[in-house]
Symmetry: C3
Subunit: 136 residues, 3 copies
């Protein structure tokens, strides 16, 4: 059985955000056994799974991603949408736009320290849409 | 129901290529509701989803990936297949070899600006095989 | 049909490891046609698919990942779990924690040169858990 559900995330500032609760709140009751795919329908934000307790981890993610893919590199040619735009596309590809998580006992089978991250890479993004597919 | 379909992409030059149309043309009729996994069976190319309009985005992707993972780093020890080979393996791992996309109303449920990218990381690659699995 | 199976990988040293055989040995008989999702329930290790023959490729992966995400960057603020910890989180996000592989004829439909890699990013990690979901 396949259930699809669209979730609109509340608008976020640039940076990495723990969105596990917001995602779960937007989902229907999960099956006993199954999988969920969460797909972000944007090209300048991404999804990943990482440490779910200490906010300093998310701050360091933002710092290091900005060093890895700096703005204002003179070699960029796609520059007309702002200096944050092209780096945002590349960060999105490095992080990925789609995560697949197992479901067990009506819950996401995440590890103890795992949570879902949104990487928001634009300075002034609007709300982001997640397309969720649950199969069981 | 699961349908598997192999697609052979036409040979591409090194760089990032928008392959959405080529992939869709190779697929059977899609279900009303479902998922597709597209898996590239190679270790020096990758798949991702990103901006589907402006070709300058793909050029900047190639520029920045080459800066991120430079050729001829003297610390490489796997060098006998050419200076483009080991960087190609690492770029493939950063981009990923497998993408999962929701299907809705017999279409890929991509965002407005999303398309499928092939990252071709070898200077002289032969054609690439995609193994597609549709489940509904 | 969905089958879930947990695999505990033997403890590994820091670096990239080819784990295809260890994973297959931990799985039940695979279906004729299907998919498998392998999900690592940790935030300082990752999974990917890459070259399955030459061990020098894995050594270069470790070298380049260490250059890409160096330890002891003075800008890190999440430092109390050791200098390898925060880089491990970021490497995990770059590599990814979940891979989806097609199944055909009771085998993983990997390309000729593809194998499953564990990226172990901590200096002294304990054993790692993989949560595998097979659907057919």
């Amino acid at each position: 059985m396949i259930i699809q559900k669209e979730i609109r995330l509340k608008q976020k500032s640039r940076g990495f955000h723990l969105i596990t609760s917001e995602v779960i709140a937007g989902l229907p009751k999960l099956p006993q056994v199954g999988m969920i795919n969460i797909f972000i329908q944007h090209t300048s934000a991404g999804l990943t799974i990482n440490e779910n307790v200490d906010p300093s981890v998310r701050i360091d993610f933002e710092t290091i991603f900005n060093k890895l893919i700096p703005e204002n590199d003179p070699d960029y040619i796609h520059i007309f949408e702002g200096s944050d735009d092209m780096p945002a596309h590349i960060k999105s590809a490095l992080l990925g736009v789609s995560i697949t998580i197992p479901i067990k006992n009506e819950r996401l089978a995440l590890g103890t320290w795992q949570g879902i991250y949104l990487g928001e890479f634009r300075d002034n993004a609007s709300e982001r849409r997640l397309f969720c597919t649950i199969y069981s």
